[in-house]
């Protein structure tokens, strides 16, 4: 856990601008990862190391392979070459190995993907109950704790369809946290939200970052990247173009491709 409660991200860890170097423990390691969809190469030679408690924000134009990259980490997509290691466990074709990695990585989706046939609380406690075999009472206690954490305990007995988008996404975050993951993957968590609901979700994510969660966040929210990220990864055409601290990245980008992208969005 991080000892510094302040939100100066660079103050929390020593951070390297190099994509493959990281301070302390390595949480996620990607080496020479390639991914093809038919003839289309979605990822080419991805090398990235992410340290424990590090927050990495991935940005880039649509179709650049951001989502594909983080979906490879928990095997929602299968990479075709290279290796991916999550907390010392290498992803292989072994089903048990995949299950193990999925237990340790929480994921939050653009479209929330809550289970509409279950109440909010049941959504949250489903995985602890069935995967971690947690007793019902204990799981419910944990579930309520997490719902309080994301500030919607009063919605526990409702169904996802009765909640606003921002509330649903916060439930999705609580659901992922219920497995006590070591890494959280966020796949454009605010892209499907109405503008007025974006901040409540980003605030929850900031909370999580300040508590020392290892996070990879694919997003278009540059403010969030600037404020929370330890490092920013810029991707284009399936490649990592540039990696750096937010200051470095937003004030002094090195690559032309990065400069072009930033000039288009800022």
């Amino acid at each position: 856990m991080s000892d510094t409660p302040t939100d100066t991200p660079t103050g929390r860890h020593v951070v390297f601008a190099d994509a493959t170097q990281v301070a302390g423990d390595v949480m996620i390691e990607m080496e020479h990862v390639d991914k093809f969809f038919g003839d289309f190469q979605a990822l080419s030679d991805i090398n990235l190391r992410i340290g424990r408690q590090e927050v990495v924000v991935v940005i880039g134009p649509s179709g650049s392979g951001k989502s594909t990259m983080i979906r490879c980490i928990n095997r929602l997509e299968e990479h075709d070459a290279g290796r991916i290691v999550v907390d010392g466990v290498e992803l292989s074709h072994d089903v048990r190995n995949i299950q193990e990695i999925r237990r340790e990585t929480g994921m939050v989706f653009q479209q929330f993907n809550l289970f509409p046939h279950l109440t909010v609380l049941d959504n949250v406690i489903l995985a602890p109950r069935n995967v971690r075999k947690m007793p019902k009472a204990e799981a419910q206690r944990l579930g309520m704790e997490l719902l309080e954490h994301v500030k919607i305990p009063e919605q526990a007995k409702k169904y996802p369809g009765q909640l606003s988008g921002g509330q649903q996404q916060r439930v999705a975050i609580a659901r992922a946290l219920a497995m006590k993951p070591k890494v959280m993957l966020f796949d454009e968590p605010t892209s499907a939200l109405d503008p007025e609901m974006i901040n409540e979700v980003l605030d929850t994510m900031k909370d999580l970052a300040s508590q020392g969660m290892t996070m990879i966040v694919v997003t278009h929210e540059m403010g969030f990247a600037r404020e929370v990220a330890d490092r920013v990864v810029f991707m284009a055409d399936g490649q990592i173009v540039e990696v750096g601290t937010p200051e470095h990245f937003f004030t002094n980008p090195q690559e032309d491709r990065t400069k072009l992208f930033l000039s288009q969005i800022l």
Binding site: Q99, F115, H117, L126, K157
Partner: protein, 411 residues
Amino acid sequence: MTAPVLRTPAGVWLRRNLFRSPVDGVITVVAALVSAWVLYKTVRFVFVTGRWEVIERNLQLLVMGRFPAPHVLRLAVTVVVLSAWAGVIAGIVHARQVRAARADLESTSWSRARVLDLGERFWIPGLLVLLLLALTNTAGPWIMTAIAIVAAVVGRLLGPFLGRRIHGAVGGAILTIALAAVPIGLYLYVVDAVGFGEWGGFMLNLFLAACSIILCYPLGVLLALGRRSGLPLVRVVSTLYIELVRGAPLFVLLLFANVALGFFVPAGMTPSTPTRAIVVFTLFTAAYMAEIVRGGLQSVPKGQFEAAKALGLSPPRQTFLIVLPQALRNVIPAQIGQLISLFKDTALAGVAMGLFELLRVSSAITQQPDFRGQGLIGETLAFGAVLFWTVSYTMSRESQRLERKLGVGTR
């Protein structure tokens, strides 16, 4: 300030909805005349020209076939126990839902609204029961119905109590087994006195349908999952089964089971005819059910699978906890349609297999010495149609209710 109440004068309403243009007017007049004529004919048939004595005299035959009189009491006991059983189940289900604190079910008291709701649900089958009772000339059925209603109410009141006292995985399993044992026990109790092969009448239609529905449903779900399985052998076998069975007419399959089974199975080992009918109905409907369920599976968004996977759920849990519940809910109307169709198809078992079910009874009784040659087939078929319609329509209504209940919080 209250919103102004807009009342349309009758004349304006008529002009707007029925006589908007000359063509509309002609259609309205023609439709009204045809409707009036049909209504007139129907009412006349029911109350004036229809000769219903054939129904009154043969009511027992229509309802329970040639069930031996000394054992009819066992059927009455069965009806009473089944009523209590259904009441207990309704009570347990309701208690569980209240415990889950679903917003729309918070009241447990017998409010006026609840009674009205029950009335709205069951007034049509209730009318049918009254009609049947009115046609009898003995006290037995009246007494049985009264006791059955009392049993259902007692069961309904006991149900929540049972549900509260028995909980946990073991308690739940014991309760489920005990509840499942009741209909099986009743079947054995009745069959002990009167062999399955001697059952008949509308009771047989209901029994064939109930057994086939219970058996075909899980088989259909498994076939649907099999057809989407990643294992090629399972997929090919499921697909072959579905396509072969759907390619054969039900009538042919029933004939085949009746006639040709003897060529393959030694004489002493052939199951009774009603059992064979149940097997055919089950296997046939399961193939259709499988395709309906497969449609439901395809309607579940890909994100649901991904979320389940990302949480580390094992593939069977992904299927049974996440995908299947949504898939089955999405196709309730088609599923119930198939089950209603199965229920009505039980009438085919009479012609194809010689079972003495309602349709065959209906035509047989017109050949009795007292009624022969009087053209009473219209009356007997109409009576049979009313029985079939009432049950089918009740199934349909209950399915809509189920859909509404399960639709809580749909996106």
